[in-house]
Subunit: 338 residues, 4 copies
């Protein structure tokens, strides 16, 4: 940490801050300057004591220098994480596709999706059984019946299942069926859920919170890693800004930046990112070209009749067209579309 003193700080104030740093069992290093003095601190492991220093007379600011995440940091673990999921894998060298409807509506539609995807080499099916809805009066998903349909689909087609968890009480039942447990944007900092998932037997797909910084996102991943679950996939899905031409602002620059700071795979969800089906393929291509390790795409046999999020779902024809556009980009990026 670095303590920055006011331009008018007195020698006594500087000494008091140094004394407090020593009391905290750290070492102060006074750096005098032409307009103000700074005090470097060594020996501290995190940000503990930061507030107490900030409140002392003569202190202008206290700046943290060390990153607060460890297990997910690339500084402590340089090699990129890679792990298998159902019949595919995620990590360097590939772009792993996950596709499917917002919610499982009935057996026939989910099976039609799974069959199409497997025939096209897409080996992970996304579909919600438990849905977070802004309105208490909206369709909340089929629940356990939805899980049963996902299980049946997996058995029939061999496709892997990605589905959302909303409640700590549901984790056990969902992980019996799912290959990946999804944490939605609204729950990125639901620490009770993160802690429960740190004990789960399945990988976790952690969506970025609507207003989360990169550091907060990595700290949420650290919660899961700290409990012992190191199979974590980060997913950018758009953030909340003033920009109103899309449903959210898909912040693709976080893909290369996150990959610089963490060894975890980072994927993108252009469906929520744009909220409009017609713009999904452009942003899927862009995410791939930015280095995404995977793509999460909403697909529905009949978007115009979807119970939820139809406006951002591709129909089968549009999905196949998008796949055809992604292939040459994947070749250009020298990654395998899988």
């Amino acid at each position: 940490m670095l303590v920055v003193m006011n331009a008018n700080a007195t020698p006594a104030q500087i000494e008091a801050v140094s004394a407090r740093i020593r009391e905290l069992k750290y070492t102060p290093h006074v750096i005098p300057g032409p307009t103000r003095t700074a005090i470097g601190i060594t020996g501290n492991k995190g940000a503990e004591g930061r507030d107490s220093l900030r409140l002392m007379p003569g202190v202008e600011d206290v700046i943290r220098v060390t990153s607060p995440y460890k297990l997910v940091s690339r500084e402590t673990h340089q090699q990129l994480t890679e792990f298998p999921i159902a019949q595919t894998r995620i990590g360097p060298g590939g772009c792993t596709l996950m596709a499917g409807p917002c919610s499982v509506e009935n057996e026939e539609m989910i099976l039609r999706c799974a069959e199409l995807f497997m025939s096209r080499g897409v080996k992970l099916l996304r579909g919600g059984a438990f849905k977070p809805r802004t309105s208490p009066y909206a369709f909340q998903g089929l629940g356990d019946e939805g899980l049963r349909l996902l299980e049946k689909t997996r058995q029939k087609t061999g496709i892997g299942i990605v589905t959302e968890v909303l409640d700590v009480l549901d984790v056990e039942r969902i992980e019996a069926v799912a290959d990946v447990l999804q944490v939605g944007t609204r729950n990125m900092q639901n620490y009770a859920l993160l802690r429960r998932l740190s004990q789960a037997r399945k990988p976790v797909l952690l969506k970025r919170g609507m207003a989360a910084t990169l550091e907060e996102w990595l700290m949420a991943a650290e919660y899961i890693a700290a409990g012992g679950n190191r199979r974590i996939i980060l997913c950018e899905r758009g953030v909340r800004t003033f920009s109103d031409h899309t449903r959210n602002t898909l912040d693709l620059s976080i893909i290369p930046v996150a990959k610089h700071y963490t060894h975890l795979p980072v994927i993108a969800d252009p469906s929520h990112g744009t909220g409009k089906a017609q713009f999904v393929p452009s942003m899927a291509r862009a995410a791939l070209a930015a280095g995404a390790d995977g793509l999460l795409i909403e697909v529905h046999p009949e978007p115009a009749r979807a119970i939820s999020d139809g406006a951002q779902s591709l129909d089968f024809e549009a999905f196949e067209k998008m796949l055809a556009e992604l292939r040459p980009i994947a070749d250009a990026m020298q990654v395998e579309l899988r």
Copy 2:
């Protein structure tokens, strides 16, 4: 709802949309215009079918007209909500003060706070036993031991207890002690928790999410109300913007606007709103002058030694000074500081 057609929409497209509206059991009203046609829809109760219309050929946009919340809306319930809490009450005619440390650290500090507050007419103590922390390695609160200390403090001083709930599994133990159950900003859309709290025996203080619109906030309240718990307090605590001179951007304009749309009481938390103790009194005064029904203030006997959020906590002297500044503003506003 209103369907807006493209400038180039054909008569066949307009008829197809009208047919689809009739199929949804609503009534279409075609409104031809010089550059484009709009189609008004009557008979629909919510936004069901909106996506399906938006995807039809020739459709530019579908605009929702009716507000999606009912129970918390002032349109359906004009009278402002008022209810008692411990030895005080919240609602029109007053500004209800809630003060205390970020987290319960030990018996002595929490008791000192409670005694000071009761002697100054502040009848609600805030203090966290379970804390949501960005880092898994940071202090997470004293947990059940913290609850025990809050209970003891209440018995000794008669002060009411406001404390945060993070996990559905904790609700029963916390509501045995607390007078108000606080939902933090990160959990505003944790629907599992909201649904559980809709069954709670105690009022709920619902903080606005860091990136929540007014409508999303009221919909979160609607979740609680829909389950039967009508005692809800809304709390503005600052939102996430580009602005970096404060920890969050305290969006005080939401106080009069929310009070226009809902009958629920709306309070402000200038401590999280600014993140800096020296600016809390100014924003507390501003919130009161904007019409806040209450204030949530972080106070700590020794902020420089607080385990968490010391930088935004007032010490006792600053708290008393702030109270002295609030009183004439309350008089000017003709409300009782309670």
Copy 3:
């Protein structure tokens, strides 16, 4: 400045950075730490050389410590700025009111406003002759004819004139009439205009840019001060965020924070801040209670017939009601409403 090295930086990289700092004629102070090394820099006057250091191998970040504004800073000039404007003044001890229509529409309306205001002790009239409009097809103001009407109104009533400048070519004509030259939010970083105004004979009212940080705002003021014009009024008018219940998000916390860092007066514009007349009085009261040195309020004799911004204009009755509500708050704050 402080250079933060990567956790894996080599001794050779650290030495190379130190050498570069010496080459820039500054002094490096190496601060070794358990996980990474930092290098304090003294002797530098601004941020020059920051980029060149950031690009060196092994460097994680370069943090600036000294504030970049000088003349407007309270560190170099502790006493609060105060100056007269027409028949009133701005600065400590008062809240200076400026009111009037968005644009000057005709002689009768502007005169009616001025007469009402002077009779109520409001001595500054705002009104645009040149208007920045989002659409090239919208009414752009009466221009020089508007200036003539403002001049006439001033002569008849003695009221001071606050009016906007859009173009360097207009400054001379406008300053012949105006008592305060207003720079709108869209022009906060129009440096050609700021430089011209630094030579103006009249005070400048500098609105905060829609996405400007406090530092950028103060730097824009520094442009004006650097050219010799020290009579600057800062005006918060709402910023652009995701929040959609008001036209802009009025960021009142910047009032106490700006007043901490600069000696210049800081006022608020709740009319643009909310965009809705019914919420203006609440936010005017809040701004006053937050410590605003003045208020800029849109008032129109007949808002429903205003050519521009009618939705946020108070009519005379609402304006007088607001004044009556402000008086006791001003008394509570011990400032004079003037």
Copy 4:
């Protein structure tokens, strides 16, 4: 437009609104609904009268339906705009590269850039002679001497010149040299400048404002088009959000969306978009894959010695590596890199 009435609006209020609409010479269409009434308006050409309706008793909201831009809209002009610039062109079928330093520092560096670019098929050189700088004390560009160096470089190498205009008084001198006149993000709504450029003899590159919506950006372009200059290039360069891992948030989704609404070419500036050279190539690839019609890239022979913006400038080696990565993406997109 559509007027939405309150749920409690009376028949008299509905009739009063209808009467006012007729008075404005438009036609009202009352659409009764189960909870509220809407009134469609036909015959209006813009948003005139919107405020006056919004203020009437019983009115909840007034929704605009028609887009406010005409000349730049794809609804009125379906064919994509294409035009030549120096030895290259911009428009469908290609991705036009513009590269160079933030500012012209001396003859040698600008010439070295131009020679490298021309040898690699990059035919447009960007470089500032007049620079908008946040601080009045920072280097403001070489000014007319910079223009002279750009002119000389063009004569020697044949490269086209893209350079920024800050002041209406400079336009004539700059357009004598430049092939494209750049309007920076801070001046996107500097209407005096836009109006002057609408008369310019050269194409205009209009950067998106830091907090501008798509509609505001297109309206700014409409200002230029309305004055007669139809050669406009839109440039996304990142917006201001809470996200802090990059200097700005590069909002790539605006590329496909803008191209849906306007016929003008849309390019991206990943250098300002990220602010960090190491992440520029990823985002350049992403922008190309999203459909950008061009890329604006900061390149400097020695970024570590650049006077301004060195941290986001590529050196020659990194630039050539980026070009090599872009080529296969361009092939995949079936566009020519030019």
